[in-house]
């Protein structure tokens, strides 16, 4: 269990994180979302004691990070895959990390194998692609077989196979009861991977809930109906106050009415249905709606 309590971090006069509190439960993948500049990375750095918070703190199973004697055994973190010396080999990078926490070199070779870098382990990191650096960073996370894992944009630079791999790995690790906190801008990926979400904007908590609840609260919902007599049904729906939008000759999208309402109405008018399904907007849509008022950087239209 990760507990963040009243965390604040200021750079000059500007608060990057302001009185932020949340909990990350074990046994699930928790997505950490927020627009650019919302304070996600600063929060993660403060959690690990790398940035000194102005107020508040974080505990890992009740202990502050600074009090962990061999933290790699308890918390594995990857904040940026670029934090490697380019002149050092990937294996040697892992060797110093392992040695710092009393882990044997055999563990280095095991984790290199897990992330698929055994063959290039002795090559210097400057020859690695971004995806390979991500894998190396993940090897560092897994070195101590930690109970808690914190990843900042782990899929960045990975190819589709790599993205799928990391999703499977994190889901598997969460299934073992570990605590996983992952930030990512790949919301479609997050929708597949995360069970819970922590959404922040301008350094403050916006939502802390399950993915389903978040999409339910902020996402769009409608009913998709297809029928050879769609005109009759659409007219009846509009008369009942529903908003009906045509998709094609036999299909419409209905808002302000549930699938049950549509089904009952179709039965009353003896209209045959080819499709009747409840549709829900994507996590991306919900995220954009939830964070629309706290976007640090907004884009303009291309003319």
């Amino acid at each position: 269990m990760i507990t963040v309590q009243g965390l604040s971090k200021r750079f000059g006069a500007k608060f990057a994180v302001a009185d932020l509190s949340f909990q990350v439960a074990p046994g699930r993948v928790t997505g950490f979302l927020g627009p650019n500049g919302s304070g996600k990375s600063t929060t993660m750095r403060c959690m690990l004691g790398l940035d000194r918070p102005d107020a508040g703190g974080t505990t890992f199973d009740g202990q502050p990070y600074a009090q962990l004697d061999h933290p790699l055994h308890q918390v594995g973190a990857l904040l940026d895959a670029g934090y490697v010396h380019p002149g050092r080999s990937g294996r040697n990078h892992l060797r110093w990390l392992a040695a710092s926490n009393g882990l044997p070199t055999s563990r280095v070779d095991e984790t290199l194998a897990v992330v698929g870098l055994t063959e290039v382990g002795t090559k210097r990191v400057r020859t690695y692609s971004l995806g390979m650096k991500q894998r190396l960073g993940l090897a560092g996370v897994l070195l101590g077989d930690p109970h808690t894992i914190i990843l900042d944009e782990p899929a960045n630079g990975l190819d589709p196979e790599g993205i799928r791999w990391i999703r499977d790995v994190l889901t598997h690790l969460a299934g073992q009861g570990r605590t996983i906190l992952v930030s990512s801008h790949l919301l479609s990926e997050m929708a597949l991977m995360a069970n819970s979400l922590i959404v922040i904007g301008k350094g403050q908590l916006i939502e802390e809930c399950s993915v389903g609840d978040f999409v339910g609260r902020y996402g769009d919902h409608w009913v998709r109906v297809a029928s050879p007599r769609i005109g009759t049904l659409a007219e009846a729906l509009r008369a009942g106050g529903a908003v009906v939008t045509a998709v094609d000759d036999i299909t419409v999208e209905v808002r302000n009415a549930t699938a049950v309402d549509v089904g009952e109405l179709a039965a009353r008018y003896q209209v045959t249905l080819h499709e009747l399904s409840t549709q829900t907007g994507s996590l991306e849509d919900a995220f954009l709606k939830a964070t629309s008022s706290v976007q640090e950087y907004t884009t303009g239209a291309i003319r």
Binding site: R45, L48, G49, L50, D51, R52, Y65, A66, Q67, L68, H70, P71, L72, A77, L79, D80, G82, Y83, V84, H85, P86, G87, R88, S89, N92, R95, W96, L97, A99, S100, N101, G102, G140
Partner: protein, 252 residues
């Protein structure tokens, strides 16, 4: 602490630049010593003269070891590896102490190897050409060989301290090299112009270099080998302590 020392030792050994600098640090004075021993009249150089040559050329060694010390921490800031380092070892003082210990030990060992090699090879070459260079004949000048080793250890620590304070590799190396070459001359000149009598003996590098001076202590214008070395060490220790404080308090 042992784990942290092991980790930092792996870091030090696995960056090629450190090995290259160490080789140059030993090789440069050795080449100068060999060329001098081969080219001068063997009778013109006694043991004290050879010690002066070795300690004189090994100032370059000290500087290069200082560069290794500085880069040992500035490269961590530059490449961002300070973050995984402090994430793996949250007690920052432990990391900084391990780095300082290794920096000083490497400085002392490399300099000691260089001094032994240079004096050994130089004396063998000079004696083979009819000279008479005996270590025992050098008298008090022999302490300069030990002194220059200690000096290298302190300069290594100074590089590390400056690296912690400045955080940038080029800037830290520039200060490390330009301060003794230019900085102290300018400051000394200004202090003389301001009316101070012989301020150079109070300038840290000028005081510290007495550690490797075969004639140190003979004159009245210097602090001498022991007090000069001690003074240089205290200044270095203060810079290192300030750097450690800054690194411990600031965001990584």
């Amino acid at each position: 602490m042992i784990d942290t020392l092991r980790s930092e030792w792996i870091k030090l050994r696995t960056v090629r630049m450190n090995a290259v600098l160490a080789i140059i640090a030993v090789g440069f004075p050795l080449v100068i010593t060999v060329l001098t021993a081969l080219l001068i009249d063997a009778d013109d150089m006694d043991a004290e003269g050879l010690i002066g040559l070795v300690t004189g050329t090994s100032i370059v060694t000290g500087m290069l070891l200082g560069v290794i010390g500085a880069a040992g921490i500035t490269s961590e800031f530059g490449f961002g590896t300070i973050r995984p380092t402090f994430a793996a070892t949250p007690k920052r003082s432990r990391v900084l102490i391990a780095k300082a210990v290794l920096t000083v030990v490497v400085g002392l060992v490399v300099e000691a190897v260089m001094v032994a090699l240079c004096f050994g090879v130089g004396s063998v070459l000079l004696n083979s050409r009819g000279g008479d260079v005996q270590f025992a004949d050098a008298g008090d000048a022999r302490w300069a060989l030990l002194g220059i080793v200690v000096f290298a250890g302190i300069v290594s620590l100074l590089g590390f301290g400056l690296g912690m304070l400045i955080r940038s590799t080029p800037a830290a190396i520039a200060v490390l090299i330009l301060w003794p070459l230019v900085g102290e001359s300018i400051v000394g000149g200004l202090l003389i112009a301001a009316g101070l009598d012989n301020p150079f003996k109070w300038l840290p590098y000028n005081a510290g270099i007495n550690l490797g001076n075969p004639d140190a202590g003979a004159g009245t214008d210097s602090l001498g080998r022991v007090w000069g070395g001690l003074y240089f060490f205290v200044v270095t220790a203060v810079i290192t302590a300030l750097g450690a404080l800054s690194t411990s308090k600031r965001d990584a």
